[in-house]
Symmetry: C3
Subunit: 140 residues, 3 copies
Amino acid sequence: MEWLKDSIVIETRGKGLYPITNQISPLLESWQIMEGICHLFIQHTSASLVISESYDPSARQDLEVFMERLVPENESWHRHTIEGADDSPSHMRSILTASSLSIPVDEGKLSLGTWQGVYLFEHRNHSHRRKVLIRCLKIS
Amino acid sequence: MEWLKDSIVIETRGKGLYPITNQISPLLESWQIMEGICHLFIQHTSASLVISESYDPSARQDLEVFMERLVPENESWHRHTIEGADDSPSHMRSILTASSLSIPVDEGKLSLGTWQGVYLFEHRNHSHRRKVLIRCLKIS
Amino acid sequence: MEWLKDSIVIETRGKGLYPITNQISPLLESWQIMEGICHLFIQHTSASLVISESYDPSARQDLEVFMERLVPENESWHRHTIEGADDSPSHMRSILTASSLSIPVDEGKLSLGTWQGVYLFEHRNHSHRRKVLIRCLKIS
């Protein structure tokens, strides 16, 4: 068994789902992992990780609208608004989704289902430089 | 240390919580794992994984009603409705719960709390064949 | 590689976010882990784990109010109320957040982002003794 580590950086340009599957795959190839498990961890509290539908863009658009409506901004009771109306809601949206994901690797690839993709969910309006840690346990 | 892998299939018959703890336990026994960790990963974007109350069925019924109300169907702004009114909400409900779970194994069993059970949460109306990958790191 | 295990107990005094990062760090030190991964698992269905903003207390206060509003108590359709109005909502709030978290360890510390902290989210009104399992794979 071997432990392999790296991180990827995602330059976001406002709220939304950013596909990252294609940034993880080359790492697996360079590490020549055939089998194992890949742990993803996002080092932020205003962006998160999700696995969702990767085929039809309208599914992602609906997820983005949904999150805006489920966690509204500009609520009178919000106190943590020092960085803007999207500040506190960004933390709420983050805890409702994931900070860490563990995805099996088989035959050299993330063992995602046919329609699954891995996404970074940016919850802030402005551009951000987001870091996701990748840690893989290589079995073979 | 040893790496053990398998998958389980759950035949769902519409929305709801399906217990899967009893499908994982026999795998641990056959692998003779006394100690380690078990990673579960669901290969779908319209069904998810949760750990919840396993004793009183009314707790699960409330969770099912809750999810229907928290993420309503037939909203005018839903665009991803090609497979029906439950299509887009199924992805929303999935990202609010879990795609992957990591559960310690001790004394040959999943180290669940007294009232915890592992469930597949089906978010679609029709019957589906759902696949959950099981990957265990066996320490002893 | 080495497998290290322990658990921490958090005595909660009603609903809210309880910081636990500082209960995990001494374990990493005593185990002399420089690099690896740390899996956290909460053995309860009415309390959960989240990673969130650790700097400004108002961020946590907003998260606590948010959860009260997102998952209201005393709904007429709640059936699982044997332990009180906070019973069923505590399970709902738990499945919306996390039961397990996997956090990389680097240079002897949890690889959290600058503003990240690990929290136990208590969803019950009364005092509880909560147990979180800590399982670490030590690489070096």
